[in-house]
């Protein structure tokens, strides 16, 4: 029993992490306080990082934790603490709850069936089973070799983001002046 478990430890861990990630994601939809939603999202992202580690793409796992959990979610938690808007009486769900649920079931069914049929059946040798995973050196070489243009285009996106942030600050300052005078 233990022996079999140890032999399939990878798959068991993958299943455990996957189910926990799904559970945390579902918790995001039912939690009322934004802070609890943020905590559930952080747990989901950390579990996804663990799944990336199990898959052998350790650098993506590291960046998942560093960028998503470390930067994006800390920023989000900071904002939630800063805003401190108490809305216990506000309704949690919009009036699109039932159509949304119906669409969710339909989307899940349609995508699930198409994924099921498009992939080789269980037991059959998968096309990628023989190809080993790639390390960070392969990734880095192709990142700055083959995909350098996309990498450079990202800098243009970042520049546009800086300009947009400046515009938002200017609007914010103007709104603050108006409040001050009014």
């Amino acid at each position: 029993m233990i022996d079999t478990l140890l032999r399939h430890l990878d798959s068991v861990l993958l299943l455990v992490f996957g189910v926990s990630a799904l559970g945390c994601a579902a918790l995001m939809l039912v939690a009322r306080q934004p802070m609890r939603v943020a905590m559930a999202l952080i747990a989901t992202m950390a579990l996804l990082g663990a799944i990336y580690g199990l898959l052998g793409v350790h650098f993506i796992a590291a960046f998942q934790v560093l960028i998503y959990v470390g930067a994006v979610m800390v920023f989000m938690v900071f904002t939630i603490m800063l805003l401190e808007v108490r809305e216990d009486s506000a309704p949690r769900y919009s009036k699109l709850l039932l159509p949304g649920l119906a669409g969710f079931v339909l989307l899940l069914g349609a995508l699930g069936i198409s994924v099921w049929h498009a992939l080789p059946a269980a037991g059959a040798p998968a096309a990628g089973a023989a190809t080993p995973g790639f390390g960070i050196s392969t990734f880095a070489a192709s990142f700055v070799g083959e995909y350098w243009l996309h990498f450079e285009l990202t800098t243009v996106l970042l520049l546009a983001a800086v300009v947009a942030a400046l515009a938002v600050i200017r609007i914010s300052r103007r709104a603050g002046d108006r409040q001050h005078h009014g």
Partner: protein, 100 residues
């Protein structure tokens, strides 16, 4: 069920849950977080495909999505802060005057 099917099923379930959250929740910050969940689902599917095919293209795209997600949050949060300063609420119903 093999590993790829499991991972792809998880990815599309995360994406669908995120989409459902964006549609049904009313809190602006919660909607933003559900969008992040959708991006995470897409990332997982890209990593799965990239591992299955043994090419780096999917992993490169994941890194570009990291940048896009960070930029999205860095711009969305100040906009939400501005809106909340104006309306004193995070509820989406109060912002209906933003309709064109």
């Amino acid at each position: 069920m093999d590993k790829t099917q499991l991972l792809l099923g998880l990815a599309l379930a995360l994406f669908a849950l995120g989409l459902l959250g964006v549609i049904v929740r009313r809190n602006v910050l919660v909607m933003l977080m559900c969008m992040e969940l959708m991006l995470n689902g897409v990332n997982l599917s890209l990593v799965t495909f990239s591992q299955q095919a043994g090419t780096t293209a999917g992993a490169v795209l994941v890194f570009l999505i990291f940048v896009v997600a960070t930029v999205e949050i860095a711009l969305a949060i100040p906009i939400v802060l501005l809106l909340v300063r104006d309306k004193r609420t995070l509820d989406l119903g109060a912002y209906s005057d933003l309709k064109g």
